[in-house]
């Protein structure tokens, strides 16, 4: 019963936020003189033939994989109370260098892919490591430094692309790195569709989906089942309590940022290894910023992030069809932004609600579901409630 209730209260906030966002978007669409039901129909219309429908599903899944990884990278740092806004720069640097490394060597199949993955993770981790080192040695806020490093990464990536790693010939409209050879590509999962008896889509389902699942499970296990994960979450909830119990906060900052950056390094790989096989001026941008939104929507848990990534991918797919229906594609961005703002507000309201319920029904109410924003150093729940009451009454 309590488990069901906890699940319920965990789902109420995001569901409420999605509803609020849909209502706001409907109002916006009404304001521009279009019909909201048209937009809804476009969102849900996956096409007429079975092949079109599976294609739509593949597009959504392929978009969801990088979003999921990006959300995961943000969330790992977020659970410790660190804002890694630099995921955007970390994945751009990682992808351009991984593309360069992948094109430069020739290795047998799995080794080649492994090398690209290792390079990407190492570059991402190093780039995030700069933020961590500046924070622990010089006290620079990770928010500012990671934003500045984003700009530096974008500039450096564009220089690498036009200079040392340039593969396309002079004068080409789109500048790219040299293509990664066949051995460094990730096989797609389209065999799966035959197994379950669905029509074959036009494009391939990224095999990197499996890697993403593995990373997601690994993060979940590390966060909830290991000493490190416990220390990480404890530091996020109450730095002073964690330090008092012997956690070295500086080392935790460095380790966490390295892990976050390592995951961020993977974000560009689904597209790189599964589709484009090179980095270029047209390479998918903005995944890092969307990852922040996905992580907030998923409330920092890998399962939640997976659902959030699928929701965002589902919305992104509709961008082009919406334009055919004369509705601006930026409606999608507005829905996404509103969902995020609504979900953080709903989370906060839900927290206050459980808190009040716990105060009123002294003892029989469930444990307060704190997100760590106001969690005190972990004393027994009972004493904290009485403390609050006294202060509220005073």
């Amino acid at each position: 019963m309590t488990a069901l209730r906890r699940l319920g209260s965990a789902l109420v906030a995001p569901a409420l936020a999605v509803v609020v966002a849909v209502v706001i978007t409907a109002v916006v669409i009404l304001l521009i003189g279009e019909n909201p039901s048209t937009a809804l129909r476009v969102l849900l219309d996956f096409g007429d033939t079975p092949a079109q429908q599976t294609q739509a599903i593949v597009v959504i899944l392929n978009r969801a994989v990088p979003l999921f990884l990006s959300g995961l990278a943000v969330a790992v740092a977020f659970r410790m109370g660190l804002f890694n806004i630099g995921v955007e720069g970390q994945y751009r640097m990682a992808t351009v260098l991984a593309a360069g490394a992948g094109a430069a060597v020739a290795l047998p199949g799995p080794l080649h892919v492994l090398l690209i993955i290792v390079v990407a993770m190492a570059v991402g981790a190093l780039w995030a490591g700069i933020v961590a080192v500046l924070k622990v040695t010089r006290g620079v806020s990770e928010v500012i430094s990671s934003i500045m490093l984003n700009f530096i990464a974008l500039g450096t990536a564009s220089w690498l692309l036009t200079g040392p790693l340039r593969g396309s010939e002079e004068g080409a409209a789109i500048i790219t790195t040299t293509d990664i050879p066949e051995s460094g590509r990730f096989p797609d999962l389209n065999g799966l569709f035959d197994v379950v008896g669905l029509a074959q889509p036009r494009s391939g389902l990224y095999g990197f989906l499996l890697v993403a699942v593995v990373v997601g499970v690994a993060v979940a296990v590390v966060l909830t089942r290991t000493r490190f994960g416990f220390d990480l979450r404890a530091t996020g909830m109450s730095p002073s309590a964690a330090t008092a119990s012997g956690v070295d906060a500086r080392r935790m900052v460095i380790k966490t940022m390295l892990i976050s950056g390592g995951i961020a390094g993977l974000i560009g790989l689904p597209d790189l290894l599964g589709d484009t096989h090179h980095f270029g001026t047209e390479f998918t941008a903005g995944l890092g910023f969307l990852g922040i939104a996905v992580a907030l929507l998923g409330r920092g848990s890998p399962t939640g992030i997976a659902f959030a990534a699928l929701l965002f991918a589902f919305l992104d797919r509709a961008a082009v069809p919406l334009q055919f229906a004369d509705i601006p594609a930026s409606v999608v961005t507005i829905i996404q932004g509103t969902i995020v703002l609504a979900v953080v507000i709903a989370n906060e309201l839900a927290r206050q609600l459980t808190r009040r319920r716990a105060e009123r029904g002294s003892g029989q109410g469930g444990p307060p579901t704190d997100d760590g924003t106001s969690a005190g150093p972990g004393g027994p729940v009972g004493t904290r409630i009485t403390d609050d009451r006294q202060e509220a009454g005073a």
Binding site: M148, A157, L341, S374
Partner: protein, 426 residues
């Protein structure tokens, strides 16, 4: 009492030369610092032969680009002094650029200012509702506003400009219908242009100072004047009025302020809305530079403004200095790619000074590190002819990062900055 005695003894222990340079309070030390910096830049200009480093047009561009950064930083000052961290400055600035462009092409430059401020303030209002009323984490709300602002301006452009014949498009507005007026000092920087003449002669130090003065006084836009006046005005409002004291008390100790009858929530609302308005005005400054609204025009200047605020230790004078520094880097980057290389020489000299200073203090690890980096930038200066565009584009951001990592330890932010205040929960 005891502090006064110590200060007196330590001052008398100094030699006359040290007293000349280090005595006399902050104002004299800042003056000497500026003189020293000017001297250094002059030397670097002569050695590197990069006239653009201290030319009057570089300083004019620097001033022009310092304005949006400074306005965003002033916005951050109001908000953070009231205890609300405002990462959403960038988003409010984006809203300001759109509002400025939309109102500007219809009603001229006055309309642009009003429109930009209103749009920015609307963004501030959203941030205030989320953080003050609902108690959402400040950084989270700010990030959400930045994402949302990008979507909103694109949506509005698609709605207003796409398909219409006013001349705009999905990513830009039509040109402003009137240019804002600009002013020059007569005789000195206009007419006979005495300063401009001096600046062109490439004399040591004299030409550099003339370049600086001419850059500051020739063709100064009306928004630049407003921005410069807003710095002392913000100081007076925040530090010399009852309103300012109440606002700052919300950022230092909201519970105590509340117990003394300060309407904490209302003060925070006012502060964050002002903050949004100022950031929006910063956006208008960018629109004035280009005479048009363009998507992505802000280029992270809201974030640089936030860095200028931190660099300036949450004080108006400090943030103005920070904005000037980042504006100079931004201006130099836009004016001349080769002049950026000369900055490496400047960096090498500064780092060498740091190395000497640390050796005197007996901190050998820091000294060796600084010397190594000094040698590295010197090698860079000697070997690099011209930096590629990709690298030059992030000069202001790199300098922001360097300055923050060198200077961020002695800073003191408002005590309750970034903490969610819920009435009765503290």
């Amino acid at each position: 009492m005891s502090t006064v005695t110590t200060a007196a003894t330590s001052a008398s222990n100094r030699g006359p030369l040290t007293e000349l340079f280090l005595g006399g309070g902050t104002a004299r030390r800042i003056t000497w610092g500026l003189v020293g910096l000017m001297l250094l830049m002059s030397v670097v200009r002569i050695v590197s032969g990069e006239q653009a480093l201290t030319s009057s047009s570089t300083f004019a561009t620097a001033l022009l680009l310092a304005v949006p950064i400074g306005l965003a930083a002033l916005g951050g000052l109001f908000s953070e002094r009231a205890g609300v961290v405002n990462i959403g400055l960038e988003g409010m600035m984006i809203l300001g650029t759109w509002g400025g462009g939309y109102a500007g092409y219809q009603w001229g430059w006055v309309g642009a200012i009003v429109g930009g401020v209103l749009f920015g303030a609307a963004g501030g209002l959203v941030h205030a509702i989320a953080t003050v009323t609902f108690g959402v984490d400040h950084v989270v709300s700010g990030v959400a506003i930045n994402i949302l602002a990008g979507g909103i301006v694109r949506f509005l452009s698609e709605l207003v400009y796409a398909g219409s014949d006013v001349g705009g498009g999905v990513t830009q507005s039509p040109a402003l219908s009137s240019r804002p007026p600009s002013f020059s000092l007569p005789v000195l920087s206009d007419g006979p242009d005495l300063l401009g003449d001096l600046a062109g002669r490439e004399w040591f130090l004299v030409s550099d100072i003339a370049g600086l003065l001419r850059g500051m006084t020739s063709g100064v836009g009306v928004l630049t004047l407003i921005a410069i006046l807003l710095v002392p005005l913000s100081y007076l409002v925040l530090w010399r009025t009852a309103f300012g004291l109440r606002l700052r008390s919300c950022g230092e100790n909201p519970a105590a302020a509340d117990s003394l009858g300060v309407p904490v929530y209302r003060m925070k609302y006012i502060a964050v809305v002002i903050s949004g308005g100022l950031a929006g005005l910063g956006g208008v400054a960018l629109v004035f530079v280009a005479n048009i609204y363009k998507e992505g025009q802000t280029g992270g200047r809201g974030f640089i403004g936030l860095a200028a605020l931190i660099f300036g230790n949450w004080r108006p004078g400090g943030l103005a200095a920070g904005a000037g520094l980042f504006g100079f880097a931004d201006g130099l980057q836009l004016r001349s790619r080769t002049a950026v290389v000369a900055l490496l020489l400047l960096l090498a000299v500064l780092l060498l000074a740091v190395a000497v200073f640390q050796t005197v203090r007996g901190k050998y690890v820091q000294a060796v590190l600084a010397a190594a980096f000094a040698a590295l930038s010197l090698v860079g200066f000697l070997t690099i002819e011209e930096l590629p565009t990709g690298i030059v584009s992030f000069t202001p951001h790199l300098i922001t990062l360097l300055v923050l990592s060198l200077a961020s330890q002695r800073l003191r932010m408002p005590k309750a900055d970034g903490l969610v205040y819920r009435r009765g929960e503290h």
